[in-house]
Amino acid sequence: MGEVLELRELSRHYPAQRALDELSLNVSEGEFFSLLGPSGCGKTTTLRLVAGLEAPTSGRILLRGEAIEHRRPHDRNVSTVFQNYALFPHLTVRENIEFGLRHRHGGRPVDADKRIVELVEMLQLGDKLDRAPEQLSGGERQRVALARSLVLHPDVLLLDEPLSALDPNLRKQVRDELKALQRRVGITFLFVTHDQEEALYLSDRIALLNAGRLEQLGTPQEIYQHPCSRFAASFLGRVNWLNGTGIRPEATLLSRDQPANSERVYDSVVQRCVFLGNHLHVEAELSGGEHFIAELPCNSEGFQAGERVHVWWRAEDELLLPI
């Protein structure tokens, strides 16, 4: 797979803040690539720099090997799905979808009509074409925004937290659809999110950003299982910490009897035990005062608050952080 997008030491500094500091990464053709991080980490800035909506302080942006950092937004073959979708309220769904086709180099593509028909069918917008955006539901608006961008066959589709405007029930369903869509159209997605679950679920690779810098780059599994820092470990899921060692709640075990063959056994007191459907959530306090959470299989027997138990885990389940 070739590289479609390359960022080289890309920086965006404001007088009071380094929104983005020397970010370098490559995105491969057809990849679902996520920029993940807390608010203010520089993920949206990165997206806007690639789109051309902001200018970098320094660094390069290469799109299919060509430097584009000095080009105007209309002159870059990337397209953005905005967080609020930014559909044109004075145009119908059809006119929104056709908006960009007029402006592409060399005029309207010859296969424009075919592209529209395909996307409209794929995104189930057939009966909505003559509606105004304000008559659509959140999910429908998002599909129109996707169609409007995808119809241009961008080299990279930029998505700025496109699921955050949807209500939680819809979000999971749309998430599945988005992944299926990306596979189907084969276009490279650069996806911005602050939701680690979303990033893990959707991404081929994730770039975890923190305070304008790249924290870690890797597949979801790599980052989850081998986080490079406390920040990375904590941002992608919960971690129990004991003397600098991290253990995921699902690797944390509880037993009433002294477990054999493990050196990691600690006397604890159960504080809370809640059945959450897919797992049993137990909170316990270690004798040293550390607060631990264990997620046990849902068929495990329950514990009583105040009960004395052993908290333990296997050595190979510890998160190894480089020091």
């Binding site: 789109a51 051309g52 909506l53 105007r72 937004p73 209309h74 990337v78 397209s79 953005t80 905005f82 609020n84 930014a86 559909l87 044109f88 309220p89 004075h90 908006f99 960009g100 007029r102 402006h103 592409r104 409007r148 961008s149 241009l152």
Partner: protein, 294 residues
């Protein structure tokens, strides 16, 4: 209990709060409504009544009742004046649109200086309208500032006819009413979602295309509101046509004024102004509805 039957308790509570609300509303609205009725409705009724009376020798109205004033309106002379007035108002509005939209756009994108520029736009209101119009006369007349300077510079040997023509009237109208265009247009531009402009650029539209296909259509409510605010006073203007147009440019506003002063024909003046108001209302009805719905 049937499900269709309303809960008596709810209904009662709703009624009580509604009654209290409407009582409060009546209390607050009564003075304003009474004032409007007295100061707007009553004079209007008097003017309407005057249109059916006969002129008095020294102004005022006398008996008998007549339809003559309305019949005189059909005279082609007045139709011509009315047409001229509409044309002048329409051209003034068009010029205000052409000047006001770019100005409002500029101000809306001026960042921290927006406040300053807005103040500059409304600064002329701090001086009397009459004084400002006389200032224009001082600038434009044959021995005025502009002609004097051009003459001294040797650029002209005869004074340019700057005053007492339609051009001067248009200038005065545009100068006076431009802020009424700029402010509502600015308000819509200011409210506009910036991500829409970013989205347009992102979809490949060049800056001018963004302006034409997104900014302009979305500014429509402000453009309509501004046009109405400029067109109506321009149509009825009498001071500017009188002072800057001299006697030559008879517009309907001036004509009405003349009926009440020089001609001492109050009934006909009343008929003229009622007719003008009727035409304006008819014209504006669909427009105001449109600007409200946008």
């Amino acid at each position: 209990m049937q499900p269709a039957v309303k809960q008596p308790g709810d209904q009662g509570a709703g009624d009580a709060s509604q009654t209290a609300n409407s009582g409060l509303r009546t209390l607050f609205l009564t003075p304003t409504a009474a004032l409007l009725l007295a100061l707007l409705g009553a004079p209007l009724a008097i003017v309407l009544a005057y249109t059916f009376r006969t002129r008095g020798t020294y102004g005022g109205v006398t008996a008998p009742w007549t339809l003559e004033n309305w019949q005189r309106l059909a005279d082609s002379l007045y139709a011509g004046i009315l047409f001229n007035s509409f044309a002048v108002a329409a051209v003034s509005t068009a010029i205000c649109l052409l000047l006001g939209f770019p100005l409002a756009l500029f101000i809306s994108r001026a960042g921290r200086r927006r406040g300053l520029y807005l103040h500059l736009v409304i600064l002329p209101f701090w001086t009397s309208f009459l004084v400002r119009t006389y200032a224009w006369m001082f600038l434009l007349r044959d021995t005025g500032l502009i002609n004097t300077v051009l003459f001294k510079l040797g650029l002209i040997s005869q004074p340019l006819p700057l005053l007492y023509n339609y051009g001067a009237v248009l200038l005065g109208l545009v100068y006076t009413y431009l802020p009424f265009m700029v402010l509502p247009v600015y308000a819509t531009l200011e409210r506009m979602d910036r991500t829409l402009l970013e989205a347009a650029a992102d979809l490949g539209a060049r800056p001018l295309q963004v302006l034409w296909r997104v900014v302009l259509p979305l500014s429509k409510p402000g453009l309509w509101a501004g046009s109405i605010l400029v067109f109506i006073p321009c149509l009825g203007a009498f001071l500017i046509p009188d002072l800057l147009g001299g006697g030559k440019t008879i517009l309907v506003g001036t004509l009405v004024q003349n009926q009440f002063t020089a001609s001492r024909d109050w009934p006909f003046g009343s008929a003229l102004s009622m007719a003008l108001m009727g035409v304006v209302l008819l014209l504006m009805l669909p427009l105001t509805r449109k600007s409200a719905s946008l």
